[in-house]
Symmetry: C2
């Protein structure tokens, strides 16, 4: 008796139970810098907005998403000089992860090719495999600071007739770069020339450091009809458990994505109403988080670079460090496993994000400075044993 | 410039913008008995439970769903003598509609056949078409009371080698029957004999009338490994806008469904915590709704049957009427259109649910008695004009 006989065949190649992210039992003394789950407590006004919305009777279907929420999202994009029509261009999704699935679901058939950078957030792989698409990796290249960056030539070299889309993440997780104007333009020109879609994961746009600037892909010439922005409130408002995200795309593509019958709008109406409030009143909270992240980055990069054998560039965006630990001559997965077992510090091996990132590890700076001090001590203590 | 070139090919057959349910602008004076969105206000304790959970910090990821919520769902099934392991058999979904999509997503490849009864809730069609499955309809048959019922022989007659699953809804929307012990047994035996899955939509189990009883499919011999229960809090707790549902299946099938990478658990943790409270303390509220529905059914069935040309059976479950209006000799879609335009009463033509239901209309009794009195007057006034 095997359940495989009932399975959609693509599921069989996705892997077993480990393919699904599951809640882990808490381990005493563990410092978890694995998942990118901000440690900040949401401001109280968000909980109050949810409560108020429910008492006001916002507990019924909102087919197609709450118009007020979609209008607030469209309004938000004015900040980036992106003109968005809330009626035809905004799709409410259950966080960024459902947005990714829906974007892929709208365009992929078996045999289509999708280009994913290397390294890249691992969450793109399973949906692509699920739809039977062929995943083609395009290597990122390190800049002089040691930051992985998109490389237009590398992307061009893997484009074929079957290329349906390229996935980018800007600002980048795990690599930490923020795409330059030239990088955005170069990718846009290639997408128009070769006629493919750019799925543009933008969940870290509020976390950009050192005066760098976010350049939107969707306003590049020819890109309104070729860009699917996937975004989420999860990181912006420390809102991971509240599951609210959205897609912004040109009206034609948005219309296509809207036809994926993934279910009636997944975000509780009360959270959509709270999202309106967050976009109005949440920015001082975001400022506070930004300051904390910057302090954490400043401290941890310094600590990392003081450890012989570690080269850790400053990230330009997001709240991860992605240090090069190749000098230890140990596979990143083994190093992370050792750190977990011997020091109760959870971080992520570079290979999670692609083979090109072997020799790197990712640390999510989602803990207060005090905890990060402890984490750096643990890291240092462990890797020093490796060099003996 | 056509976006179709980017589209997943199955989407093109799903239809245009009208394929997606969209929010309608309110129309002054309209009585909407179209969508099955209960008119009851949620009890305040549910809003309070959501608020409290957020203040307690339940605002972070709960990969795989909140264990306490899954345990409460498993506990709930004891009421039906169904033994459910919360760890391996419960999947949290964003309402029933996402549950349907995920169930289909776990098993369907293009060319697979899926049996949908006729009539049946229309929400099964798009997901099946999306996955390229061939939809095969099996006609329901009317019993002596005029209620459409599942017919095992009709189902058997359309089973082929390619049949992957049968979808049932028990209690039935729109037909209003509650499956008898014999019907459940007959379908189970056929499913085991022919080795297919039963996708078992059970969102109306709390709304059963006239002393009838709900017989679970999953506890039939051989059916633990062949049943996918899709359910939701939407109807049970008048919770449509809060988007919380679940799948219960045998451990093997549940493991398969869990591998569909539809996104990180879609239900905000605070709503999962509120779901625990609802399952503990929500039952007097459900009792009140039940009483109201029974009163509405009693009144409306009587009114319907007093109209010459209308034959309206009492539903055994759920809160819809599905009267036979074939004597007017008018297509159901035309009748509904006329009612909407001339009387501002929105109801649903039978053909929405299948060609076998031509000559019927569906009325969702989701309005107070006073409004239903008005609705019945409008209906009566309109159809009397038809017979002149």
């Amino acid at each position: 008796m095997s359940v495989e006989r009932f399975a959609r065949k693509e599921l069989l190649s996705i892997g077993g139970a480990s393919a699904t992210r599951v809640a882990l039992d808490p381990i005493p003394g563990l410092i978890n810098l694995g998942a990118g789950d901000p440690d900040f407590d949401q401001p109280r006004f968000i909980a109050e907005a949810v409560y108020k919305a429910m008492l006001e009777g916002h507990t019924h279907y909102a087919f197609g998403g709450d118009p007020e929420f979609k209008a607030a999202i469209a309004e938000y994009y004015k900040k980036f000089n992106v003109d968005v029509d809330p009626q035809t261009q905004v799709i409410v999704t259950s966080g960024g992860s459902q947005g990714i699935f829906q974007a892929f679901a709208a365009i992929l058939n078996p045999g289509d090719e999708i280009i994913i950078l290397d390294p890249a957030y691992q969450g793109y792989n399973q949906p692509a495999a699920y739809f039977g698409a062929k995943i083609v990796r395009a290597k990122m290249m390190k800049d002089r600071n040691g930051l992985f960056r998109p490389d237009v030539d590398n992307i061009r070299s893997v484009v074929t007739e079957r290329t349906k889309a390229l996935v980018i993440c800007n600002p980048e997780n795990p690599a930490g770069c923020v795409y330059t104007k030239e990088e955005v333009e170069g990718i846009a020109e290639l997408a128009v020339e070769k006629d493919f879609i750019v799925i543009d994961d933008e969940i870290y746009t509020e976390f950009i450091w050192g005066g760098r600037k976010y350049y939107p892909m969707i306003t590049q010439p020819g890109m309104l009809e070729r860009t699917i922005i996937v975004s989420s409130f999860s990181k912006t408002f420390a809102w991971t458990g509240c599951r609210a995200g959205y897609i912004v795309a040109g009206p034609e593509l948005a219309g296509l994505i809207n036809r994926v019958p993934v279910g009636i709008c997944s975000v509780p109406v009360a959270f959509q109403k709270a999202g309106v409030e967050a976009l109005k009143r949440g920015w001082s909270f975001v400022d506070e988080m930004r300051k904390a992240y910057q302090e954490r980055i400043e401290y941890c990069v310094k600590r990392m670079n003081e450890i012989p054998g570690v080269r850790c560039p400053y990230p330009e965006g997001a709240f991860y460090l992605f240090p090069d630990i190749s000098e230890f001559g140990v596979p990143s997965a083994k190093l992370c496993d050792g750190l977990f077992r011997e020091e109760k510090l959870r971080i992520v091996p570079g290979t999670t994000y692609g083979t090109n990132a072997e020799g790197h590890v990712r640390l999510a700076l989602v803990a207060p400075i005090k905890t990060l001090e402890d984490a750096m001590d643990r890291f240092e203590r462990y890797v020093k044993k490796l060099t003996k």
